[in-house]
């Protein structure tokens, strides 16, 4: 298998689907963007994929809480389809709105509340991969990942972050700047098996060195690309 078949799940208002499609393609996947209602009509589309992304954006305008309606669509429409996908060991990543969706479907622990400072915030952040994490997405990544955030509801909430960390489920932490008041600086978490990752920042927006805001001043560089996460996911899917 040369190219891993990947599916990007989008709802009405998902808007970083094209960005993540580009990232996956660059990392070696054959990508199909599918709307949630199409997926509900044709669940086989999920079976055909080896890797799934729930992309960022504002599904259903974030009305009454980010990610809730799209999560409901997926749970009602696919039943335990996503869970079976995960149980088969196929990697899933939820980015930004996708992270919010995955916490609501209970594939990931915790919840995402309004940023502590009360506003949407767009800025670049530095993410430290947590060494003991079981996440297959961050496995072997030693260098910090640089990428932007762009969200209003990214404050990670969990009643017991210590146990979460002890279980290896904290995959990424904000370095120096915690932009949204997330508990224990948590930027990304995974499920117990490590195949599902959710994160608020956008690794799909740092896939070539030129995208880094300080590229001309020697900032960023290959080792800090968000692309590394997608390469990991695809490598894992390939080995299935």
């Amino acid at each position: 298998m040369s190219q891993v078949p990947a599916i990007v799940i989008a709802g009405p208002g998902t808007n970083r689907d094209r960005d993540v499609q580009r990232a996956l393609e660059l990392a070696g996947a054959a990508v199909r963007v599918v709307l949630a209602n199409e997926l509900v009509e044709r669940p086989a589309l999920l079976d055909e994929a080896r890797l799934a992304v729930v992309a960022g954006g504002f599904s259903y305008a974030d009305s009454l809480g980010a990610g809730r309606m799209l999560a409901l669509d997926l749970v009602v429409g696919l039943g335990d389809g996503l869970r079976r996908f995960v149980e088969a060991g196929r990697p899933v990543i939820g980015i930004c709105n996708g992270f919010q969706v995955l916490t609501r479907t209970r594939l990931l622990p915790g919840a995402l509340g309004h940023n502590a400072q009360g506003r949407f915030d767009c800025r670049w952040v530095v993410l430290d991969p947590v060494p003991n994490s079981v996440s297959i997405w961050t496995k072997g990544i030693a260098d910090p990942v640089h990428c932007p955030i762009a969200h209003g509801e990214g404050r990670y909430v969990h009643p017991d972050p210590e146990s979460l960390a002890a279980a290896g489920q904290v995959a990424l932490r904000y370095r120096s700047t915690n932009p949204n008041g997330s508990v224990a600086d948590i930027a990304g978490v995974c499920d117990q098996t490590g195949v599902v990752l959710g994160l608020m920042p956008h690794p799909e927006n740092n896939i070539v060195a030129r995208q880094h805001p300080r590229a001309a001043r020697g900032g960023g560089g290959e080792q800090h690309l968000g692309l590394r996460l997608f390469e990991n996911g695809i490598r894992h899917a390939k080995e299935l």
Binding site: L35, F58, Y60, A61, L64, L72, R119, A150, P213
Partner: protein, 940 residues
């Protein structure tokens, strides 16, 4: 058996952690000088009508309330509060979500609505609570509120639509015509009313309400630009005498024709200008204003302004890729006592406008990348909101339909009673009551629906023969314009409605957002319907383009309008308008005295117009699509201001630069010089970042006062003449533009207050090598700093004057620099040759501020030992046009000077010490500069 009775449920949802909205209310009250205790609470309310069992309520609760974040209760809250809910018919995306959730859970509900609940500390004076709600929380234009609990108002059911009215217009005299004009808020001229009367006289029948409203919309200033199409009789000016001036629109169009730039594909026709980008790709560009709506409902006004300009680009079959915004506000620190009656406080307007821009851009998924924010007391009652959009598309012939037999197809949102008469409302002068009467003109956007429209239409270009957006004037304008020459026959009954009870003319005029009209050959209709169905866009076939040149509107089959499209589009008499030309000071140069130049640099850096806009920029997603190569903030700490921004797809070699020029303060002194200066600023913005000065297209946007005042018309004439001269000088053609006039407010004293002459120029330019972009942040110590351009004593309209007050003899505003165009070409060669390390244009605050910004960007010092003028204040603070500071590595200086033909002045060096050192000025620490810049502007 008893028929089921609808039961009202209300779910109150509170955040477990402190709700940031409560803190915002307390902070906002403090800012206004209202003394409110901190113990404020905010909750969301979901209203559901329907017969629901307890377990069904539990299911809804589980979806709507996240137990880690929130607490929800179906009980009436015990504590007193004020509850706010939207008027019936205003877009309520929360209600939409509740309906969606119920459907997914297979629950039957009759209706849903949402609201907010604000709880004040015990013993809060009700008058204070009311003031906080009215000033900070809610807006009567779109919402209502009550102490205690509130019920959402259902949309009045069972109201019968009125049948179409026939207005007896034949034989009426001017006074009687004027009564109709005022009664229906038509804003037509007496001459226009007479022509309509005479036309119907000839037809031998009276006019219907649908017809007269259609004519008023189509002939409105907003839609037909009668001022810019008027013949002008000008008197006075620097040359004196009397002359007849060609219509301003014609001047701009002819200017573009005479420049004859090979990259222009379409200028001044359709929804947006179109230029070639690379081989096989075109760019569409457009900028619009949404001033009046933003004054009365800042969030909704700015929100729908952004939505409208994105549709303009979609309306010329391009995929939108970026948004720009230029915002003009009154001073944020204005004391409440000085706020004119009926106006919202500038702080509230600013918050609402920024939220409105952010909400639309962020949700639709476009980066909001370039812009400007200006403050002046004259914008207090008339804030200005300019929104721009650019898009790209594979090169293809422009659509040339509609053709006879094509279907008239409406896509997108349903039609309601929102935004009725927005086009004519924009002709109104604001006063204390404007907010009350204009309510129906303002709407809240739904960016998700527009996102779906983009998904449906981009890639469907072969399925339609013509496309336009539904903007001002609604269907009347969109279908009316498309039908020009060809004619159309449509039935309003087929237009999807939000609710029943709409009169025919209301459906026809409604400016309900997020709708597009396309002309579809019958054979393609099925394919377009499939696309729309896939992404979830409503599509309605409402009639056909007939080929007989008549615009026929039916309502359930009955003809309610039958207008010759020739009369509709060409029947309006050309206006003839007098203009008194300004007589600016052009020869008397006066300098200024500055007691402490170092302190002045810091104060200027903290001036709201110059200080960092980071707090605004960061509320916009400027990263989405991954193409933002040069961001609005740059440098070592990502807090230095950029000149232009650059977009380039990851992997693409070429990029698009966007630059903005605006300076109303020059305009108060010399409108023509202002036009030169702001075209020049937009040019320098894009050249400084690496764009090719021979591949620049311009957009012009005018926001002015009432042009029926000859002096105002004179300013417009002088400005347009300056625009055209500057465009020719730079060989940079205008490809689209828009004017917003009547930005005036009549105060309680009966005096008229107009906005200062506000010309916004947007430059869109081709960047040949996106890997070689240059930014203003200093790169490394030891590099040489050089100044390009001429420095003259030109202080009229300067920011030094805004700071220190204007002297009795202000002297001249910055004059055009005839050498600038060739200078920019040489600079571009130097950038292309890799000789330039950093580059910054000089604008507000002059050389001292430009250098300070470069130091902040690079967190490096600068030792300046040569000044460009003998007069220190001129050298540091004059705002002469055409200037840039360039940083060049020492070894590259000879090559740079050769490329520049020696047209550069070596002024100093980049230094390792963290200071900006200027001759005869106390050294300035970079940390202090950064602090002044980042903490100015009063926006945390």
């Amino acid at each position: 058996m008893v028929a089921p009775v609808a039961i009202r449920h209300r779910l109150t949802i509170r955040s477990i952690d402190p709700d940031p909205r409560a803190a915002a209310i307390v902070a906002g009250a403090e800012h206004l000088g209202l003394d409110l205790d901190e113990d404020v609470a905010v909750a969301d309310i979901v209203f559901i009508e329907g017969e629901l069992e307890p377990d069904e309520l539990n299911q809804l609760h589980a979806v709507l309330v996240d137990p880690l974040l929130q607490q929800g209760s179906w009980d009436t809250p015990p504590r007193d509060g004020v509850e706010v809910t939207l008027h019936a018919g205003v877009t309520d995306s929360g209600a939409e979500a509740v309906r969606h959730a119920a459907e997914q859970l297979s629950l039957t509900i009759d209706s849903a609505a949402t609201g907010r609940r604000i709880e004040f500390p015990e013993k809060t004076d009700p008058v204070l609570a009311e003031e906080v709600i009215a000033r900070l929380v809610a807006n009567p234009i779109i919402e209502h509120w009550a102490t205690g609990t509130i019920e959402p108002t259902p949309i009045a059911d069972g109201i019968e639509a009125k049948s179409t009215e026939v207005i007896e217009i034949r034989g009426l005299d001017d006074a009687a015509l004027q009564l109709i004009n005022e009664d229906r808020a038509l804003y037509l001229d007496p001459e226009e009313l007479r022509i309509i009367r005479d036309h119907y006289d000839e037809l031998g029948r009276d006019i219907t309400d649908v017809e007269i409203e259609t004519l008023a919309q189509t002939w409105s200033e907003h839609c037909s630009h009668k001022t810019f199409r008027a013949i002008v009789d000008a008197t006075g000016g620097p040359e004196g005498g009397e002359r007849v001036v060609e219509p301003l629109f014609e001047q701009l169009r002819c200017c573009t024709e005479s420049i004859d730039a090979p990259f222009v594909i379409s200028a001044f026709v359709g929804n947006a200008g179109v230029i070639e980008f690379t081989k096989g790709t075109t760019i569409a560009l457009k900028a619009e204003t949404h001033n009046h709506p933003s004054a009365v409902e800042p969030f909704g006004g700015a929100n729908t302004g952004v939505g409208g300009v994105i549709r303009d680009v979609l309306g010329i079959a391009h995929r939108p890729i970026a948004v720009t915004d230029i915002l003009c506000f009154g001073p944020a620190e204005l004391p409440l006592a000085d706020l004119p009656a009926g106006s919202l406080h500038p702080q509230r307007i600013r918050e609402g406008v920024i939220d409105g821009v952010a909400d639309y851009g962020n949700k639709i998924g476009l980066p909001t990348v370039a812009g400007a924010v200006l403050y002046d007391p004259a914008y207090t009652t008339n804030p200005l909101v300019f929104a721009g959009c650019i898009g790209t598309a594979p090169t293809r012939p422009l659509h040339d339909g509609p053709n006879r037999g094509d279907r008239v197809v409406v896509l997108g949102g349903a039609t309601g009673r929102d935004g009725i008469r927005g086009a004519t409302f924009s002709s109104a002068t604001m006063d204390a009551t404007t907010g009350e009467v204009a309510g129906a003109s303002v709407q809240i956007g739904d960016p998700i629906v527009e996102k779906l429209l983009i998904d449906a239409l981009v890639g469907a270009e072969d399925l339609f023969s013509a496309i336009t957006d539904c903007g001002a004037g609604g269907l009347s304008s969109a279908v009316g314009e498309m039908a020009e020459g060809v004619g159309a026959d449509i039935d309003l009954e087929l237009v999807p409605r939000k609710y029943p009870g709409l009169d025919a003319w209301e459906v026809w005029l409604s400016e309900a957002q997020e709708r597009m009209v396309v002309a579809v050959p019958p054979r393609s209709l099925g394919a377009l319907e499939l696309r729309c169905h896939r992404v979830g866009v409503d599509i309605a076939d409402i009639g056909s383009f007939t080929g007989d040149g008549r615009l026929i509107v039916r309502n359930s089959g009955t003809v309610v309008a039958d207008i010759d499209t020739k009369f509709l589009h060409d029947g309006r008499p050309q206006r003839r308008m007098p203009a008194e030309m300004p007589e600016p000071i052009r020869h008397e140069r006066t300098s200024r005295s500055v007691a402490d130049p170092a302190a002045t640099v810091l104060t200027l850096l903290g001036h709201p117009n110059i200080a960092s806009k980071a707090a605004i920029i960061r509320r916009y997603d400027h990263e989405i699509l991954g193409a933002t190569v040069v961001r609005p903030l740059v440098g070592a700490a990502a807090d230095g201001p950029a000149d232009g921004v650059v977009l380039a797809d990851p992997g693409a070699a070429e990029g698009i630069a966007i630059g903005i020029g605006v300076n109303p303060w020059f305009g108060l002194h010399d409108p023509e010089a202002m036009a030169y200066a702001v075209v020049d600023e937009a040019m320098r913005n894009v050249v400084a970042v690496g764009a090719d000065p021979d591949r620049v297209a311009l957009l012009d946007n005018f926001s002015w006062g009432d042009p029926r005042r000859p002096s105002t018309m004179g300013e417009l004439v002088a400005t347009v003449e300056g625009c055209c001269a500057a465009a020719r000088m730079y060989a940079a053609p205008f490809v689209s533009g828009k004017d917003s006039l009547n930005n005036e407010y009549v105060g309680a004293d009966g005096k008229r207050h107009a906005v200062p002459p506000t010309l916004v120029i947007t430059a869109i330019a081709h960047v040949p090598d996106a890997d070689r972009c240059v930014t203003p942040d200093l790169a490394s110590s030891g590099n040489v700093l050089l100044l390009l351009g001429h420095t003259e004593t030109e202080f009229a309209g300067s920011h030094l004057d805004l700071l220190q007050g204007e002297p009795p003899t202000p002297g001249v505003a910055p004059a055009p620099d005839p050498d600038a165009a060739s200078c920019y070409r040489l600079l571009h060669s130097a950038i292309q040759a890799g000789l330039v390390e950093s580059c910054h244009d000089l604008s507000e605050g002059g050389l001292a501020i430009a250098l300070a910004e470069m130091c902040i960007g690079g967190r490096l010092g600068a030792d300046i030992d040569v000044l460009p003028h003998d007069d220190l204040v001129t050298a540091l603070f004059s705002e002469s046009s055409g200037r840039l500071v360039v940083e060049v590595a020492p070894r590259s200086v000879p090559a740079f000077m050769k490329v520049m033909d020696d047209r550069a002045l070596r002024i100093g060096e980049v230094s390792e010490n963290q200071q900006l050192r200027l001759p005869e000025v106390e050294p300035l620490d970079i940390a202090d500069l950064a602090d002044a810049f980042n903490n100015g502007g009063g926006l945390a």
